[in-house]
Amino acid sequence: MNIVVPVKMVPDLVEELEVDATGRALDRSFLKLRINEFDEHALEEALLLKAKHGGTVTVLALDTGEVDETLFTCLAKGADRAIKITGQFQDGVSSHAAAAVLARVLGSIPHDLILTGVQAADDRDGQVGILLASTLDLPHVSVVSGVEPAAGGKAVTARQEYAGGIMAELEVDLPAVLGIQAAREAPRYAPVSKVRQVMKTQKLEEVAAPAVEVGAGSTVSRLAKPETGGRAEILEGSPEEVADRLVAILAERGFAKR
């Protein structure tokens, strides 16, 4: 089975996010990017499927900046190929545009199964995997955890997670696109030494992004932190003082004794 995993870089949400002077976009000057965490799950699921059933894993990424190390890390984890799609993506790219580019690039890459992260922190105009599937007219299922080959390799069984812990088991003909919520195992870790070694011994493939047209979209007019009426009362002081305040608050409501 030829598995393709498109990955994308997103702002690291652990860091403070600043809005730029226009008030419409992120200030990218100090922005720290990292691989979308759901894409790490998609890669892990792909690598687990490969280990158990054979096949290849190809990782794709649009060059939105800081992408090389991420792609080398994917190779260090066990991906067979890593392809960087170059173009004018430094200021970010809409999901519709990313999907259109990926669809064209996939024309020359064998793909039975495309695994993407279920969503990303910045996919304001929709999830890339689903848009990609629609462009390629492939079946798609999102919020998937657990993928197994079925029907003699012509299909996969995917578990789609609903609310309340209920799951649906669906059989999906290949080729298909699945949006991975969680891999069966926690994403593996590639030690820095291994990534360094891969950087010396392996090369990233590069493909120039083809020109694409996208239809009607939307333009951000304002980007801001949410204004909240009901913001928490923040308890200040030393850990000792804070703990005492919390005990008092909890005691007042009957959750503790004073």
């Binding site: 519709h96 999907a99 629609s134 812990g165 209920i166």
Partner: protein
């Protein structure tokens, strides 16, 4: 028609999901602004009876067929695409849920209509549509001017009051058979109910919930101590369960459980929208996080900006001593 507002009704096992009523309420407001009708789109098999609950709408379009009996993204998307193409409503609201996600983006891709995802709000002013999306893990809101005569919005659960969409009424019901789907590429096999046996976190009065801030599985006992001191149970946000540190039965949030305990202590949880969706109904929420801008503080009643390892063990100790 071009001014209508459509709402895709989500339902599972014969029950209309609350998010559907939230969207009907919002849809009513948008229809007033657009001067069009509010249409509820109801797909399934043997679901016509549910139309009686959708009194908020002016009309219910029912599409019933054996292929729609169980939800699959393919069959439901195809049936919806046919209806939407024929009616071309101004705005179509779809839930940003496991079911709705494939439909919203899939319809945008198939129909070529614009899409704004993760919407918390939407406004129509003189025919112009503004959508407010909650992105970057809930840290920022983006207002966007939306292009195109028809737009799809995927709506985050908990954005609007469900009550507003539960109005009684007598909408006309119109039956529209779906186009044939001879060779489905996605086939429903079965529904899997959650495993029983572990603690049922939906029935606990006190939950102490642990998130990514705990850093390692070895640190989980630190939070477990606090749960014990409060006589409550341990629950978790999604990353903890994805790592395999706690079982799925303990997961609070969109793809886990919705909980409404009397006390919810969020430890090292930043509060992504998917998590908040599952716990915002708790009576008292206390949050501890190192990031003062963590969205969890927007729903918590009391907040502590601190390293959890400085405060949690001390708090557990003091609570135990006070007993």
């Amino acid at each position: 028609m071009a001014n209508d507002i459509a709402v895709v009704i989500e339902h599972l096992e014969g029950k209309v999901a609350d998010i559907s009523f939230e969207m009907l309420g919002k849809g009513r407001e948008l229809a007033k602004a657009s001067g069009g009708q509010l249409l509820a789109l109801l797909l399934g098999h043997g679901v016509k009876g549910l139309a009686a609950e959708l009194g908020c709408a002016d009309g219910v379009i029912v599409s019933e067929h054996e292929t729609l009996r169980h939800y699959t993204p393919e069959a439901h998307k195809q049936a919806l695409a046919a209806i939407l193409k024929a009616r071309a409503p101004r705005v179509t609201l779809v839930a940003n849920t496991a079911m709705g996600m494939d439909l919203a983006a899939g319809l945008s891709g198939s129909l070529g209509w614009s899409l704004c995802a993760y919407c918390r709000d939407a406004r129509l002013t003189d025919g112009r549509l503004t959508a407010v999306s909650q992105i970057y893990g809930g840290k920022l809101l983006a207002d966007a001017d939306v292009e195109g005569p028809s737009t799809i919005l995927s709506i985050l659960a908990g954005s609007f009051p469900a009550e507003a969409g539960k109005a009684a009424g007598n909408p006309r019901v119109e039956e529209v058979p779906p186009p044939p789907l001879d060779k489905p590429r996605i086939r429903f096999k079965r529904l899997i109910q959650p495993e029983a046996g572990d603690v049922d976190i939906t029935r606990q009065a006190v939950l102490v919930s642990v998130g990514r801030g705990i850093q390692s599985k070895d640190n989980i006992p630190v939070v477990e101590e606090l749960a014990q001191a409060l006589g409550g149970a341990l629950s978790a946000s999604r990353p903890i369960v994805d790592q395999g540190w706690l079982p799925k039965t303990r997961q609070v949030g969109k793809s886990g459980m919705t909980v409404k305990p009397k006390l919810y202590v969020a430890v090292g949880i930043s509060g992504a929208p998917e998590h908040i969706e599952g716990m915002r109904g708790a009576e008292l929420i206390v949050a501890i996080n190192t990031d003062p801008n963590a969205p969890i503080f927007n729903v918590a009643h009391y907040g502590v900006v601190s390293d959890l390892f400085d405060v949690i063990p001390l708090l557990a100790e003091k609570l135990k001593a006070s007993k």
